[in-house]
């Protein structure tokens, strides 16, 4: 039996078509895939997240307060995005420390919108604390990266065990830190 490509499976799941083995990827999963695969595995199993973790509290607060008047939230199948009045997707991050994962998350939203809602738009990555915005466009190269990442995510989350812990510079501020290393 040949395995269906995870990208196809994800799209079929998102379109609500019957599929043997539904496969979902959230924006957070796309981000974690580029930050830490172990974190992605934990997230996929709904494992511990320390809500009192200072980084989590800060991120939630900034996300809840920044640009509040100009954006609206939209749930679309497996993603939840914020739209500006001009139709662009905005993603708010507390700092620019992990830019690549944030851009991939945003690219995934744009890819998803194009595939599922047939809407082509751009994204804005905003760091309100740093008064800094960056535009993200869905180029062909980015589309390919998104699709490769979906396959990579599938590989990680379909494993029985999480990838082993590897110390990274940002481990100390991770909400899974104690759970991961205890």
């Amino acid at each position: 039996m040949t395995e269906t490509d995870p990208v196809t499976r994800l799209l079929e799941t998102a379109r609500g078509n019957p599929v043997d083995n539904p496969f979902r990827v959230t924006g957070v999963m796309m981000q974690y895939y580029h930050v830490c695969k172990r974190e992605l595995w934990f997230e996929s199993r709904n494992l511990e997240i320390d809500r009192e973790n200072p980084t989590v509290v800060r991120g939630t607060r900034i996300d809840n307060t920044a640009y509040d008047e100009n954006r609206r939230n939209l749930h679309l199948g497996m993603i939840s995005i914020d739209l500006l009045e001009d139709g662009r997707v905005i993603e708010v991050k507390p700092s620019s420390a992990l830019t690549k994962p944030a851009k991939m998350q945003l690219s995934y939203y744009l890819w998803y919108l194009e595939q599922i809602a047939e809407v082509t738009t751009d994204g804005v990555l905003a760091h309100p604390k740093e008064r800094n915005r960056e535009s993200v466009e869905l180029t062909d190269e980015r589309k390919m990266k998104v699709e490769d990442a979906i396959r990579g995510i599938y590989d990680v989350v379909s494993k029985e065990m999480p990838p082993p812990a590897v110390e990274k510079p940002f481990c100390d501020s991770c909400a899974y830190h104690d759970f991961c290393w205890c």
Partner: protein
């Protein structure tokens, strides 16, 4: 990590604006700082209403009740949104799988004996002759095997604990002899102190377990149903020597708890209110002590070690990584 508050007097606890207040029978009023509380331990006869319970729930604070003769009577736990069907399913699967359950039970016994031994070694180095007991503990530890049935593992634990309790007679002054470990009710001072300490460890384990989505009723070494929160019995075994027993040794050897802190009636011997206060205060100070954690690369409190133990078990059950029981490393 947040603090525990102990209430020994009789009276009433009530919500007062955005905090809680204790009004004793003597009409003394005292505010308890709720925002940094982990749990309230109620030892006296206390009245409260549903408004208080809702408030504690909103604040994520547990209420542990100690009833007649200091026995743990039960807890009112905050909801905290920590429920996960998946976690409970894996807990049950591990329980149902004979090999898996034995493996976990064996780990708990091995950690528990290690921690008893570490107390014995400490006092042996402080001029007590505990070589015979230490070697009995080591012998018990060497019999542990993943493949043994639970009742045999329990037997090994019981043998070890017996040898361990013999050390009490060497560690403590003459008038605090422990002839036999007895409870229901404890017949003498030392049994009463052990029971009180163990029930505090147990209640703190209940709080730690509830901070994860683990079901406190599904356990491995102890039989589920032995008590309502049998998983707390499993975890408490690991921590009793470090928490309860070390507090007991310290207080008795320094004369901070004496025979005057007990009341004897009808074959039972119980701590007085003053005795319970002294013990609980020292116990809370111990929970706040910190130690360097080799994997987390920072200092953690003894209380947080309980939380980490619950995390470790949960991670083992859901991620399949090996469960290493808490063994005192310092």
């Amino acid at each position: 990590m947040d603090r525990n508050y102990h209430v020994f007097s009789d009276g009433r606890i009530e919500r007062k604006d955005d905090t809680i207040r204790l009004v004793t029978d003597g009409d003394e009023k005292k505010h308890l700082p709720i925002e940094n509380a982990e749990a309230l331990f109620v030892h006296g006869q206390i009245d409260f209403n549903t408004r208080l319970i809702s408030f504690l729930n909103d604040q994520g604070v547990a209420l542990h009740v100690f009833g007649w003769e200091d026995y743990y009577a039960g807890s009112i736990m905050p909801e905290r949104g920590q429920t996960s069907g998946q976690t409970v399913v894996s807990q049950v699967q591990a329980y149902d799988d004979t090999e898996h359950r034995r493996e976990l039970a064996a780990s708990i016994v091995s950690g528990s004996i290690h921690n008893m031994r570490s107390n014995a070694v400490y006092y042996d180095s402080r001029d007590r002759d505990l070589e015979a007991e230490i070697s009995a503990l080591e012998q018990a530890a060497s019999r542990i095997d993943d493949g043994l049935p639970i009742n045999e593992l329990m037997g090994i634990e019981a043998t070890a604990r017996k040898a361990y309790y013999r050390t009490f007679n060497e560690i403590l002054p003459e008038e605090f002899r422990l002839s036999n470990r007895e409870y229901n009710p404890p017949p003498n001072e030392i049994n009463s102190l052990i029971s009180f300490g163990n029930s505090l460890v147990y209640a703190n384990c209940v709080s730690a377990i509830r901070a994860t989505a683990l079901d406190p009723a599904i356990s491995y070494l102890h039989e589920p149903g032995e008590r309502r929160y049998s998983l707390s019995l499993d975890l408490a075994d690991l921590f009793k020597p470090i928490l309860a027993d070390r507090v007991l040794f310290r207080l008795v050897n320094r004369g901070q708890i004496t025979r005057d802190d007990f009341e004897t009636e009808l074959g039972s011997c119980l701590l007085t209110e003053h005795g319970r206060e002294t013990y609980s205060k020292a116990f809370e100070e111990t929970l706040e002590r910190t130690v360097d954690h080799p994997n987390l690369n920072r200092k953690v409190s003894y209380q947080y070690l309980l939380r980490l133990e619950a995390y470790k078990l949960k991670k083992h059950l859901l991620a399949g990584e090996r469960y290493e029981p808490f063994k005192r490393w310092w």
